[in-house]
């Protein structure tokens, strides 16, 4: 676990988008603890968006970081660390979803009430429920784009698609989401 650390993460937040830049010396290794500290919250919330329940999200997050640890030595920096981790997380969520289908009702139990109006909480539950009813592929683009604020390029990198494919899939996902959202919203 004690790897030589030469991880320089330059993270900046611009317009709500977190852009993590990784600069690695060619001979240096990444430090797992730093990676975990930097990305655990993002991974957990992405898993939460994909799976709904906190327990499932925690399981997927744990599996994601186990995989990150195992493959960290083979990470060559061809993609950004951020998109690499997101790709693992999305794949783990899809695997988890195959084993255990999403239960929408779990959302009622964990959303925070402190500091949030009742309307905000209901709206968030409504949005998350509609997202959870999408297919995993559509859900992934919605979660990455809207919940995790990834750019088209980052999504393309994380999902292994071209930018145009990402754009088209996102439009389809939005259309599917609006049908579910509108139906449940009584529009």
């Amino acid at each position: 676990m004690n790897r030589n650390c030469s991880l320089e993460i330059e993270a900046s937040t611009a317009a709500g988008r977190d852009i993590g830049l990784l600069e690695m010396e060619s001979e240096d290794l990444l430090d797992f603890d730093s990676i975990y500290k930097r990305w655990s919250s993002f991974v957990y919330n992405a898993c939460l968006g994909m799976l709904g329940g906190p327990d499932d999200a925690q399981d997927a997050m744990q599996e994601t970081f186990v995989q990150v640890y195992k493959r960290l030595g083979s990470f060559r920096g061809e993609s950004s660390l951020k998109t690499w981790i997101y790709r693992i997380a999305i794949n783990k969520c899809i695997e988890h979803h195959r084993r255990k289908p999403v239960n929408v009702s779990v959302l009622q139990d964990w959303l925070p009430e402190d500091g949030h109006s009742c309307e905000d909480i209901l709206r968030e539950i409504h949005v998350r429920e509609a997202v959870l009813q999408l297919t995993p592929r559509h859900r992934a683009v919605i979660v990455l784009f809207y919940f995790q604020q990834l750019s088209y390029e980052e999504m393309a990198d994380a999902l292994g698609l071209s930018v145009n494919q990402v754009r088209m899939r996102l439009h389809r996902a939005k259309t599917a989401f609006s049908k579910i959202f509108g139906r449940e919203d009584g529009l």
Binding site: D33, Y36, Y44, N45, M61, Q62, V66, S178, G182
Partner: protein, 284 residues
């Protein structure tokens, strides 16, 4: 542009991702279609709902669990490697044994057994068995140990002593690879050997009860001699015939295939001693 086509483009229209021509076509359709306008309103509202930031939940600390799982994975991997290594060593030892075993010296007690069904019906029983020919069927004896052989049995004909010695050294393990085909007719019993180079001496014995022995057992004694003799019937058994049969490939039957005719068997059964059978004929 119809409603279906417009519906598939509304999201792109809302995101300004359409070309100017397509956007104009969508707008033209929207001006005259209330249903598509409603659909656009729903889409717009859904997009607004998605655009609003959601609650960012605090992540649980799973670092310890991740480390424990990685450690467990390492131990499992180590056990797997150790298990595979052990299996590899065992496989290597078995391979070595399989290669080395056929090269080991062959014991004189090794023997191969071939079973033939002949349906011999008119078996003639020998008038009086020779006392020294009575043997236990279950324990075939090497013919060279038989005291009657040297006095009564002439040597083989047609084959050199060198070939005979070659036959004597043929391991029984090799003979076991030969196969026997039973001809169920009354006429012949056929022995087929897959290895023409093998010169085998087989011992024949009938083991089925009743007056017509239905099964002849070719027990290839590894090496020593060939005596044909008749055994007295047991209390529950019919005539039992025991013989050593020489099986030799030759130019006439290169396949090789050796036929024991029923008459020959009968003659063998009735004879006190014989030197063996070669291609279905009784040797002098």
């Amino acid at each position: 542009m119809n409603c279906k086509a417009v519906g598939s483009l509304l999201s792109e229209y809302l995101s300004d991702d359409l070309s100017p021509q397509r956007a104009r076509a969508v707008e033209d359709h929207l001006k005259q279609c209330q249903g598509c306008r409603n659909e656009l309103a729903v889409l717009e509202r859904a997009a607004q709902a998605l655009e609003r930031p959601l609650t960012v939940m605090e992540a649980p600390d799973v670092l310890g669990a991740v480390r424990a799982r990685v450690q467990d994975h390492r131990q499992t991997a180590f056990r797997l490697v150790a298990a595979w290594g052990f299996a590899g060593v065992v496989a290597l030892m078995l391979t070595f044994w399989a290669i080395a075993w056929p090269l080991a010296p062959v014991s004189d007690h090794d023997s191969a057994t071939v079973t033939i069904d002949t349906n011999v019906k008119n078996h003639r029983q020998s008038p009086e068995p020779r006392p020294d020919a009575v043997e236990d069927m279950s324990t075939p004896k090497a013919p060279t140990d038989d005291p009657t052989r040297s006095a009564d049995i002439p040597r083989r004909i047609g084959k050199s002593n060198r070939q005979m010695q070659h036959q004597f050294k043929t391991p029984a393990k090799q003979l076991k690879q030969d196969s026997a085909i039973a001809d169920t007719t009354d006429q012949v019993a056929t022995v087929e050997m897959e290895q023409p180079e093998v010169v085998a001496f087989c011992q024949v014995q009938s083991s089925k009860p009743g007056p017509a022995p239905g099964e002849l057992r070719y027990e290839c004694v590894n090496g020593q001699g060939y005596v044909y003799r008749e055994l007295p019937p047991g209390p529950d058994w019919g005539p039992q015939v025991r013989a050593d049969v020489m099986i030799v490939p030759n130019a006439d039957m290169p396949d090789p295939r050796y036929i024991l005719e029923r008459d020959s068997l009968d003659r063998l059964a009735s004879a006190g001693y014989a030197t063996g059978i070669r291609q279905g004929a009784i040797l002098p």
